[in-house]
Amino acid sequence: QTPTIDLSLKNVPLKACLSAIEKQCDYTFMYDNSINTDQPVTVEARQASLPVVLQKVFEHTSIRYEIVGKQIILKNKPATSSITFTGKVVDSQNEPLIGASVIVKGTSKGTITDVHGNFSISDIPLNTNLVVSYIGYNSKDIVANSAHQTITLSENNRQLNEVVVVGYGVQQKKLITGATVNVSGQDLQKLSTTNALQALQGQTAGVNITTTSGQPGGGIKVNIRGVGTIGNSNPTYVVDGVITNDISYLDNADIASVDVLKDAASAAIYGINGANGVVLITTRGGSFGVNGAPKAQISFDTYYGLQNVARKLSLLNAPEYATLQNEAAINSGVTPFFTQAQINAMGPGTNWLDEVLSKNVPTQNYNIAATGGNAASMYSLAFSYTDQGGIIGGASLSDYQRYNFRVNTEDKLYGNFMKLGEHFTYSHINQRGIQDQGIYNSSLRGVFNTSPFLAMYDANGNFLNSTKSTFYNGGPWDTGEANPYAMMLYTNQSRTNYDKLLGDVYLSIQPVKGLTVKSTFGLEYDGSAYHGYSPTYDLSATAINTTESISQSSSVGYTWNWDNTANYIFKVNKNHFDVLLGNSIRQYTGSWLYGSNQGSTLFGNLQYAYLSNSAITSIAASTSSTDTKVVTNTISLTGNANPVVAHSSFFGRINYDYNETYLATVVLRADGSTMFAPGYQWGEFPSFSAGWVITNEKFMAPTKNWLDFLKLRGSWGINGNDNISTTFAYESLIALSNATYNLGGTDVPGSYPNTIGTKNLKWESSHQLDFGFDARLLENLNVNFDWYNKTTKDWLVQAPLLATAGVSTPPYINGGDVTNKGVEVQLSYNNHIGRDFHYTVTGTYSYNRNNVTNIPTVDRIIHGGTNILFANSGEFYRAQAGNPIGFFWGYKTAGIFQSEADVLAWRSKSGKVLQPNAQPGDVKYVDVNGDGVIDANDKTDIGDPNPHHMFGATLSCTFKNFDFSVDASGVAGNKIAQSYREEASQYSNWTTAMLNRWHGAGTSNTMPRVTLNNSNWVNFSDLYLQNGAYLRINNVTLGYDFAKLINCKYIHQCRLYGSVENLFTFTKYNGMDPEVGFSTQGAGSNYNFGQGVDVGMYPRPRTYLVGLSVKF
């Protein structure tokens, strides 16, 4: 009996149709892989017999079928006649793809597309199977017919078939067993950021990127999978194989792709450099011409934008400030400073923030690039220029200019036997800026804390000296305050040029098939030249500079590396092997020179502030008759060579797979480092990982129609870190500087041991376990998931040392363990609605918990620094077992005392009044340890500065010639300690948050009363803390491509776009910017592990910009 079948299929792949038929009858289809089962078919059948259905299915295909028993055998119809097939190849945005190849399947016969994406292929049989391919795009099988076809190739950047960069080589993404994430350079270039890392924000799960300052050229902090050490927790950057610690010299347009190696197995090949993760950057290369035809593309990109402050802090105006000062006086039992009539008569005073902020500060970027090649050589050249001005003080004080030149080439010699290539990028950065970190010398601190009473100018139009102010009863209000605008102007007269050359030359040969031997010589040169000028000024009782001075410094550093690798790829049946062996040596040398001179200068300005333009004089003895010593040390000259740092490494890797289904990788690396004493120099870093492409299994066949790909993977490994700021930490060093003593009337040079060496210092290592999966569902949805547990052991720390040891610089010791555990999810979905509307949605989410498990010092604590929130402020963060790194350590509060009765009612369990001296309006502290006394023993963990949740999302879509994208990112679960006010002074201004202070019963239960000695703020408590969660709309862009309208043969893209950077931030945080990247210093040491401390940070600007991208 012939079965009957119901089918209603429209444009489904043939294979889906076949399986639908198989489900409805007990027939099976038999065919080999020459049958194109991806071709779309349309069938409509109601209770039709199988032969009728088969007839309908195959009538428009080149397939014939034959029913043998219960099997239906499919074969390709024999070619009938030759045709000429024409078509056009475009990308998902309907852009023509130039140089795409169209090849007859299984042969070398074919052609490539011309500059309009068109091709023509003649003399082929009808229904010939063709493969259309293009680098960076998914290949597509088509069947030639007589009609002109437009073939759309989808980009494969995020697809599984792409090849991604791993250490010392590349690997197919579907075979990777570690946790890596790849971002294409195009995605970075879409965001018009000066620093490429900033564009990466929110695009990679598990990578937390924070700007440390919104100032042009400001730093960026990157933490991969949590903070693993109190030392330097930044990842290692590897640009085209050359290790560097900073990639701010690159223009976004220079970057072809970024690969982040997150787990130990992926980073293990970089052993020593892998403990904090590795970021691999590939700069743009050229491409070999197809079939011998040379090809070239020239592109020009530019944007110009105007920047303004995104959110302004609101400070008190003169009457508000006077009112609070009066209130503080009354609360402190002192006569108020002003009468109400005086306050009423006050104007608003000076808004210092408005004085220092500049409006519509330009930012601009130009990039011109050429890429191309012929059959044997390819090249990529680029020049770019970036200039970003700062919104505080304007471009004259805060500015970042960068010039980049890049040349990448590769040549094939002797056929495919040898490849010779190079990558070189030179950048010149010209930077000036204001000081914005910390509380000392920070221009912003002056702005926050100078009273609105002080006027900008005196009667002659000069900056008013605060001692000459007549505001307060005809005299000065606070002779210690100095015009912050003038201070910013006078104390930031400096300029620094940085030069960087980074690149490599390489030679690789292929002596036998599958074996590649490669030798690479890499170089990084860093030079800097600084000059600064300090004018004379007299702005307050203490802000006085009576002599001009000039300082000048320069430094150079060279790092070279020589890497040799041998890579052999072979297979035995279905066993595929990819074996790598290599060694690497690397050495850093450098030197620096600094000079300064005090005294009159020739030009009196920054532009000509070089040492020889100042008088080399000593300051004359005073005219006083008394014995005043002549001061002679107005000239300072210092310089030295930096200690040489060298590394020697051996490494090996085996990638194995069985039929692309069972995957395994083993890596072993041994590193020797001069950071350690002989005998402690070598460390070994192994890793193992395995994967299973479960969708290749037969039993997964039922899910094939929705689950295209699923790979389970797991890895374990150890990475190392020797990155400490002090070389020769294993020796006691003798210092000569600052050790003179006056003997017999002359300064005699002295020396002293200023460090204590720790001979047995060894590697810091991070051990990491990772489980995850990569999946593709419904063709369009990619999912990556990871769970990890990372333990960093034997931190190289300068643990605070007992003073009795006798050195001010504590020695490095191995100590401290921290774990970071978390999960990461990365999703991307792309699809189209109709022919013209294409969209992509990506999302990243990661969760991380950081926990210190051991600190080996005597008191089991690594202490945070002091004098960070305000002058003489105490310790308020620590690293201690059982808490996250840098947790906030302070008092818990329980509201505000509303009345005397309230004070008396606030008792310990044993009935003791806890704060007998408190007044209504003061803060209630919690007696955490229950001993009836509020003291340092009650300080506890009151908040975690490390974000627990990090997320990002991008939506981009195109409609015909329009494109639109939105990019957002944020964090949650962290606390920010905010301290804008200098609590050591009674005169500091407040933010308007203080208008909600307690000033009578019931007025506030969160903000205490004001007093002259700021008693409620002297102790660090949760009053300082705020929720640091935010979601920022980083970028919104709308573009339109005019190329079609222009319709010029040589212009393939002419896209004009407008975008807004830092459009809006959703947050409850009331400071200027919740993205607080400032790291504060630990107690008496070199490392910065205090996070989430906002003492006034240069805010990130909001930028409106227009841009143009032209491709020829």
Partner: protein
């Protein structure tokens, strides 16, 4: 590849490659002396602390400053509860200086001295003198301190005061025995000499036996002390300058006489400072000086020739002023009286504003003058490079007058005639009539006046016993001179006795030691 990983240190020598030549040792010894410039440049200058805690001075400082100095003055932790590590800077700096001395003393044997064996002894002698000097301050400040004589990173518990004094005596004896007996003026100003060591031995003996009520100090007897001090008095070549005023630069300028200079014949040992101090780590300025500078003018920023402004710490109790007779030349030389010297009027002339002392907490109208920072005749603070960290005036630690008064004290009752002679040399130099007989109380009073503002009085009080010290200190603080509206000093005998006169051990160091260090009673 082993060679590849062998790199040379180009920026420094290591403790193994250094200390090879006599020149290395000499340079390292200068580094030990440099330690003296460090010790008071963070935390609290010890003579300043001694003046504040004695009956001479109040805490002072600015009206919006912290209350740390008041806490010292009143021996009361609750005055400034957050100041739990007021002396941490001292603690650290003293041990840094001690580490330098310990390292050098330990490496003396490593040096290839050749024929220069004399230098081996003098270098070691000077280093040991410095170590004793440092420990003597520490043991008086904190009583029980870790006694470290060999560099170590270990967590060392506090030693008994007897052990520390024994080490001090031993080091000083070594210095006295091994340093040459070259007399003044053929000595290098600033270097520790045999004479300085001997005078220190007497000073340590008097303090230890006085405070602890013992007959000798680690076997160093009264006879030993007398022999030592007599040797200095008779053989050192030092003597008194004629005019007391000329010892002090600000007083000399104010009175119009010529300053005797820092290498004058009365200075047996001083801590040398220079005007080269800066904020880049060259810590060579006198911190005591800038702290005691008068704090007048709004913001505390007006100099009146020859006095430059400072931070107004240790404001003088008027009772000290009144303790001097008007004919005592030491009154003018020691204390600046704002009204008597007409500085209030000058202030008005300079600034055009009425004079108020309001900016200075515990303003009394009297400032210490001996170490007053100075200005030029145009009222610009000196040195004009960086007056805050570059006060150049040396701290005179041991003057010949002290030798005379110590000799008088040791001779009292056994050789009263000589005692009277020694006493009167100091007494009459001040322009006073010679005494015909003296008691110990007379000597103590004379010491108070002679050394007013030099950081000596407090130790003289303590060595009369904590009870005497406490009652004397309390008796002198009844008046309120506070300008900031807060409570007046409430110094109680009980509080002083609770501390036994010792200071608060820095809480941070106790924490770092995991409780191995124990806090002093009363703190």
């Amino acid at each position: 590849c082993t060679n590849f990983l062998t790199t040379q240190l180009t920026s420094s020598k290591t403790s193994d490659s250094y200390y090879q030549t006599p020149s290395d040792a000499a340079t390292a010894l200068v580094g030990c002396y440099n330690g003296l410039d460090l010790i008071w440049n963070s935390g609290v200058a010890v003579p300043l602390m001694a003046e504040v805690e004695s009956d001479n001075c109040f805490g002072g400082t600015g009206s919006s400053d912290g209350y740390g100095y008041e806490m010292m003055d009143e021996f009361n932790k609750s005055v400034s509860p957050s100041d739990v590590s007021l002396f941490e800077g001292d603690w650290e700096a003293y041990y840094q200086a001690i580490y330098r001395c310990n390292t050098l003393i330990g490496k003396i044997g490593q040096v290839n001295w050749g024929k220069d064996t004399a230098s081996a002894k003098t270098d070691e002698g000077e280093a040991k003198f410095l170590r004793a000097y440092l420990y003597y301050d520490l043991v008086r400040l904190f009583e029980k301190v870790p006694l470290i004589t060999v560099p170590t990173m270990a967590n060392v518990p506090q030693a008994s005061p007897d052990s520390t004094y024994a080490q001090i005596i031993s080091d000083l004896k070594y210095a006295a025995a091994n340093l040459p007996s070259t007399p003044y003026p053929n000595v290098v100003n600033g270097r520790a000499t045999k004479w300085a060591a001997e005078a220190m031995l007497a000073r340590v003996f008097l303090f230890y036996t006085g405070y602890y009520g013992k007959a000798d100090c680690a076997g160093f007897t009264k006879a030993d002390a007398l022999a030592a001090i007599d040797d200095v008095r008779d053989n050192s070549g030092y003597g008194l300058v004629t005019d007391y005023t000329t010892l002090w630069p600000a007083a000399s300028a104010a009175k119009g006489v010529t300053y005797a200079g820092e290498d004058n014949k009365e200075v047996i040992f001083s801590i040398k400072y220079t005007g080269n101090g800066n904020y880049s780590g060259n810590i060579t300025g006198n911190p005591f000086a800038i702290m005691t500078g008068m704090r007048i003018g709004a913001g505390g920023g007006t100099s009146i020739y020859p006095y430059a402004y400072g931070w107004g710490a240790a404001t003088v109790d008027p009772k000290l002023w009144n303790a001097f007779s008007a004919s005592d030349s030491r009154r003018f030389a020691s204390i600046t009286s704002i009204t008597d010297e007409g500085l209030d009027t000058k202030y008005t002339t300079i600034t055009g504003k009425a004079f108020t002392g309001d900016n200075n907490r515990e303003y009394t109208g009297y400032y210490l003058k001996k170490y007053s920072p100075m200005c030029d005749s145009l009222n610009n603070a000196l040195p004009n490079t960086n007056y805050l960290v570059a006060q150049p005036q040396d701290y005179f630690d041991m003057r010949y007058a002290d030798v005379l008064l110590m000799a008088a004290e040791l001779e009292l009752g056994t050789n009263s005639g000589q005692a009277l002679i020694d006493f009167n040399r100091v007494h009459t130099r001040a322009g006073l009539t010679a005494a015909t007989s003296i008691t110990l109380a007379d000597i103590m009073n004379e010491r108070r006046l002679e050394f007013a503002g030099e950081g000596i009085r407090y130790w003289d009080l303590l060595r009369q016993g904590i009870q005497t010290a406490a009652t004397t200190i309390v008796a002198n603080t009844t008046a309120s001179y506070l300008s900031d509206g807060t409570s007046s000093p409430a110094i109680t005998v009980a509080n002083i006795e609770a501390t036994r006169g010792f200071q608060q051990i820095p809480e941070n160091q106790i924490t770092l030691s995991g409780g191995v260090l124990k806090q002093n009673a009363g703190w």
